[in-house]
């Protein structure tokens, strides 16, 4: 038997030689689609959109604050939270996709990755927008979180047992921890990507992949526990092990929709022409379809087990949402959040036509708002002592819901649009860029 030396490269040695690397980068840079006109936004190119977003956001927040003081603080805070958790879903989903792209060495998504990174970068502003929620809850000892009320903790045996987890100190610590993890990951991933635009340093891509490997479990735990703390604890009696996965599904879905909207807006401005085309929209549509089905599967699994086992402390959550005027939201969730996008996105034509997929993106964002409203809004009155538990349409208070959501998403959109113009529209020195440029779906 003869042994043959296989000449495996040592672990520290990169498989590609520096000369080959440089040749590849210069080939990408000399591509006729990589003109500065095509891959950067002129200063002020989207300032109109930014002003509209900022105006709507300021108006919405103002109305929410006034409504909170004059009409109903519970209702106003719930409406604000619906907006914040929709925005948080978009950013966390984008952060997840950036880390998945890095750790799987994805080629097709390079031309879209900077937009995913920009949306993920927004997580810091959403976290800032969460500070008022935490502050209001802590100072007033429970507006929507009745487990912060010391009297209730004394009275309720169940709440006393849950107090080691559900208490103000530990809650604040966890809130800070989520912020540290999310802001660290998103700012590093965007920072390295922008830095590699200038230097083309090979180490940056490896660093991003290394941290994505650690980042994905950290992301999974923080997302799940943040959804437990802020959404599931709205009703401290309720518990579901599927809850974190539900919020993750909503997050991944919302982020594909946002990136679709950004890409189509940039294309309509004459940017990224030939770099993002129907093949990339096709893949975004596939991801949108995937997470529509995933959300439906997880949502039904949670509902079905609770419905079948029929244990009072679990069914109360659904039971409350199937009466008192909230029944229509259940129909919106089953038909609007699953059936309609499933039957539309299953068509190849819808995924491959940018206009149609953009319409689907708008629809998915609207339905994500309804998803968060389905979770948060009914709790505004239940925890307020159940004096009044109807949605408040009759008294015309529904404008507060619209104001809260428009306010948060307007500010979110304005900052996002500003951030998009701050850097190149794609990572120009990514060695896999040529794959995304010539990307084609063979099925």
């Amino acid at each position: 038997m003869t042994q043959i030396a296989a000449n495996h490269p040592a672990p520290a040695e990169t498989a590609m030689q520096d000369a080959e690397w440089e040749a590849r980068l210069s080939k990408i840079a000399s591509d006729k689609r990589m003109t500065p006109d095509n891959i950067t936004l002129e200063p002020g190119a989207l300032s109109g959109l930014m002003k509209i977003f900022a105006g709507l956001g300021a108006l919405g927040l103002l109305v929410t604050i006034i409504g909170g003081f004059t009409i109903n603080p519970h209702h106003a805070l719930a409406a604000y939270e619906v907006g914040v958790f929709t925005a948080l879903a978009m950013t966390l989903g984008a952060l997840f996709f950036v880390m998945v792209f890095h750790s799987l060495n994805a080629g097709w998504s390079i031309t879209l990755r900077r937009q995913f990174e920009n949306v993920a970068w927004m997580v810091r502003w959403v976290w800032v927008m969460m500070i008022p929620i935490v502050a209001i809850e802590l100072i007033s000892k429970g507006v929507l979180f009745d487990w912060l009320d010391p009297h209730k903790v004394k009275e309720s045996h169940l709440l006393g047992l849950k107090a080691p987890y559900l208490n103000a100190g530990f809650f604040s610590f966890r809130f800070l921890l989520y912020g540290v993890v999310w802001i660290f990951l998103s700012s590093k991933l965007l920072g390295w990507s922008i830095k590699s635009d200038e230097t083309g340093d090979r180490a940056l891509g490896r660093k991003a992949r290394f941290w994505s490997g650690f980042g994905i479990p950290c992301f999974a735990l923080t997302t799940a526990f943040a959804s437990f703390d802020f959404l599931m604890s709205l009703d401290y009696r309720f518990f579901s092990t599927m809850w974190g996965v539900m919020y993750f599904a909503a997050a991944a879905l919302a982020s594909t929709a946002v990136v679709t909207l950004i890409a189509s807006r940039l294309l309509s401005k004459g940017k990224l022409v030939g770099l993002v085309h129907e093949e990339h929209f096709h893949d975004l549509g596939k991801l949108m379809f995937t997470f529509t089905v995933f959300w439906g599967y997880i949502g039904f699994s949670q509902y079905f087990l609770i419905w079948y086992s029929n244990i009072p402390e679990e069914t109360a959550w659904y039971g409350f949402r199937q009466q008192n005027g909230w029944q229509w939201l259940f129909v919106v969730m089953t038909i609007g959040h699953f059936c309609v996008p499933f039957l539309l996105l299953i068509w190849r034509k819808v995924k491959r036509t940018p206009v149609l997929l953009t319409a689907m993106g708008v629809y998915v964002i609207v339905i994500t708002i309804f998803d968060m409203a389905w979770i948060i809004r009914p709790m505004a009155y239940l925890n307020a002592g159940a004096e009044k538990i109807d949605p408040g349409y009759a008294s015309g208070e529904v404008f507060l819901d619209i104001a809260g959501v428009v306010g948060v998403l307007g500010i979110f959109g304005a900052i996002l649009v500003w951030k998009i113009g701050r850097s190149n529209l794609l990572p120009i020195k990514d060695p896999m860029l040529h794959e995304a440029m010539s990307h084609k779906n063979y099925v």
């Binding site: 509902y303 079905f304 029929n310 084609k440 063979y442």
Partner: protein
Amino acid sequence: MSAMINNLLSAVADYFPMVLRKPAPRFVTERGNRVYGLVAEFTETPKVFHAAEHVRDAGYSKWDVHTPFPIHDIESAMGIKTTKLPLMAGGAALTGVTVGALLQWGTTAILFPQVVQGKPMDAWQAFLPVTFELGILFTAFMCIFGMLALNGLPRFHHPLFSHARFCHASDDTFVIAIEAEDPNFDPVKTRELLEKIGGTHITLIEDED
């Protein structure tokens, strides 16, 4: 439409020669054997790719390219239309969902009403898992069996296997085979076309049935 019926009859005749005889061949050899078609060999991927484009542009419809490995985008070079399989699978999915829903609703709510676990007899929640699974099952069946049927599989023999050099198509050679049943097929002109586009070892294949 008539082409579809012809294909169907030909498939039935393949499997059940005692029931249905194959339609008379368009071309026979001097020994009276049915002519399957003409094959030509190519040695390089780009050459066979461009040759396929020429055959497509010459208007042939019943022909195929045999390669040792998948060639990206060969389907557009051959002018193959998108498959009808997704529509068939969608039809099967709707059938499965309908069957699953009606079977449960009909039996537990109408024909043999019985209270299970204190739930309403027509509770849609309880029917959904089986409805979903039956939709998946029918779709999967249609995908695999529909794919086999559209590909003309299973079959025990193919006329090309009688050509000794054809086995190189799984090793180092690309083969273009144009069938004699193609309306554009002409023994002389098709051979000239294959020569013009760079094919070598052009051979007439007989189908001994």
